[in-house]
């Protein structure tokens, strides 16, 4: 992804646990401000099930890349119905019943086991498109996102392909909500996780889970408290107790919600917030020595 020589530059993943806390708002506005400060930044939307970053950034899209998994195709002339394929498959994507092989392609994780184990060489892994990755830019800010095809269950492969296409020094990864496989795939390998939450019971509960994920993956994190005046102080106290620095607090400003609803960038519609994003980034970079890669 980047050369060994580069000493500066970070991959920052923006995650939350709870949906709707402001990950995309923070990620797109941070990316734009960093780029405006002269840094070489890529914004990567890793919420491939429901990507929204493009709504705000409105990038000039230049490339559209189909993404494939593979799935088993069985040659009926070679198949003897021995059932070894069904035995090795852990995902019920290929089953052998009464010497007949059935495949359920969407369940296939493309592990290659069935094709390897077939004694007759009757199984070929055929590519199957599960989504796309699109790349573009906006005034020097690099953009990449992915879209999982409707009905496909497996987001991580698309996320992996989005992350492969990050260029430049800095990457802002916009993570999906939750704490399951897609979030893990997004966050792993990042230098820093910027957690975004709100001071409500749901916000705190899900933030605790997201925090545990960063612990398990061994990645430093900091916290943005959005809608900071709506709830109570338990979120802040949790952050303090874990030594997680709070790098930005945003009030429950209805104007932000309204400009968000129209697909507008906060830093454009409400320029008084611009400085806050730059200051936040300085705090993140300061809270963490940039590792030599």
């Amino acid at each position: 992804m980047r050369g060994e020589e580069e000493a500066k530059g970070m991959i920052v993943a923006v995650a939350s646990g709870k949906g709707g806390t402001g990950k995309t708002t923070i990620a797109v506005n941070l990316a734009v401000m960093l780029s405006a400060e002269g840094e070489d930044v890529t914004y990567a939307d890793c919420d491939v099930e429901a990507p929204n970053g493009h709504i705000f950034l409105k990038p000039r899209l230049a490339e559209k890349i189909p993404i494939f998994l593979t799935a088993p195709h069985v040659d009926p002339d070679k198949c003897t119905g021995c059932g070894r394929c069904g035995e090795i498959c852990r995902f019920s994507a290929i089953v052998c019943i009464k010497k007949k092989v059935l495949t359920f392609l969407e369940l296939c994780h493309a592990c290659g086991g069935c094709a390897r184990v077939c004694p007759e060489g009757a199984i070929v892994e055929e590519p199957r498109q599960i989504g796309i990755v699109e790349m573009g830019e906006l005034g020097g800010l690099g953009f990449v996102h992915g879209k999982l095809n409707i009905g496909e269950p497996l987001a991580p492969k698309i996320i992996e392909e989005v992350k492969k296409r990050i260029g430049g020094s800095w990457a802002i990864l916009d993570a999906p909500p939750g704490a399951a496989c897609p979030v893990i795939e997004t966050i792993k390998g990042a230098d820093h996780v910027l957690l975004v939450s709100e001071p409500t019971p749901f916000g705190l509960s899900d933030l605790e889970i997201a925090y545990e994920v960063t612990r398990k993956l061994g990645i430093a994190c900091s916290l943005v408290i959005n809608r900071a005046d709506v709830g109570d102080d338990r979120l802040k106290r949790f952050a303090e107790s874990r030594g997680v620095p709070v790098v930005l607090e945003i009030p429950d400003d209805r104007r932000i919600a309204e400009c968000y609803s129209r697909g507008e960038m906060v830093v454009d519609a409400l320029p008084e917030y611009r400085g806050r994003f730059v200051a936040m980034f300085e705090r993140i970079a300061g809270a963490q020595a940039c590792p030599k890669r």
Binding site: G20, A50, H109, I150, P182
Partner: protein, 299 residues
């Protein structure tokens, strides 16, 4: 056969759990589920008392036995998920052995099968826990996915299956399910076989973008879709655009809920909005619930 209403959204943070909690208070005779297994919140309002809990094993993980590994590298060569590397301790025969990263391990078992030294153990992975509980609103089935664990879709399926068993055994006519955001594996697992997908959306470009995707997903699985527009007064134009889309798509809009801080205050008090007070939002939610029941009775 109980009916099942699954509340989804596409976009996160539109108000699914707040709406489900309100319905839980209004509905009679139902089983509740929280299918948002990696970031569950419904329990924060319903304060369940757990009566049964079970460990969830979603699959297996490979683990190289460093005492047996001959460091031939076959496992790393055939792993499709980048989970194997030469980072294990040495043994009598070799300076370093191979090791599997359990977070990246997909549990496919291919390395286990093909290891020439039979040195790889394939062990049940404890991916979380599921619970059957009692609440002031009736029985609830919920779960907690382990940190950085996979197989969330399977855990969702278990939660729904247990709820169905309880509904059938105890004669409840309805299952009310709090879904998760997105359109991937856990959402698919929560939608299949449902009677109605109720999409809670918000009047934002992001909300409509993601609503379209989740509605297409529900249709892909032949589940009827209805919509409720939450925080509708944040953007009147977008609310109208959503209603126009819904008409074209063939989804009934069952109501609009206004933005009101009472929703947060109720959450802070550990109550559903409807329990907390009987203001405008509570009335709007009650109206939506009436219409959900109409839709279900029409079949």
């Amino acid at each position: 056969m109980p009916e099942e209403v699954v509340v989804i959204s596409g976009k996160g943070g539109t108000g699914k759990t707040s709406v489900v909690a309100a319905f839980a208070t209004l509905a009679k005779d139902k089983v509740l589920t929280d299918c948002d297994v990696d970031a569950a919140d419904l329990h924060l309002i319903l304060q369940p008392r757990i009566v049964h809990r079970e460990r969830f094993t979603g699959g297996k993980k490979a683990r190289v036995r460093p005492d047996l590994c001959a460091a031939c590298g076959k496992c790393e060569e055939i792993c499709r998920f980048g989970a194997v590397s030469m980072t294990g301790p040495g043994n009598d025969g070799v300076k370093k052995t191979y090791a599997v990263d359990p977070i990246s391990c997909e549990g496919c078992g291919v390395c286990v099968h093909f290891c020439p030294a039979d040195a790889i153990a394939f062990e049940d992975s404890v991916d979380g826990e599921w619970f059957v509980s009692e609440t002031r609103c009736g029985p609830m089935v919920h779960a907690k996915l382990g940190i950085a664990q996979g197989n969330s879709g399977k855990l969702v399926s278990i939660v729904r299956d247990r709820a169905r068993e309880i509904a059938e055994r105890e004669g409840h006519g309805l299952i009310l399910s709090d879904g998760s955001p997105g359109i991937g594996c856990p959402v698919i697992a929560s939608l299949t076989g449902a009677s109605l997908a109720l999409a809670v959306t918000e009047p934002t470009l992001s909300g409509l973008h993601d609503l379209r995707r989740v509605a297409d997903l529900a249709r892909h699985f032949r589940i009827p879709v209805a919509v409720v527009i939450n925080k509708h007064d944040l953007n009147g134009d977008m609310t109208i655009e959503i209603e126009r889309w819904a008409e074209g798509f063939g989804a009934e809009v069952l109501g609009r809920i206004r933005y009101d801080q009472v929703v947060t205050r109720a959450q802070l008090a550990g109550k559903s909005v409807v329990e907390y007070g009987d203001g405008a939002v509570s009335k709007e939610l009650a109206g939506v619930w009436e219409r959900v029941q109409d839709v279900l009775s029409r079949g």
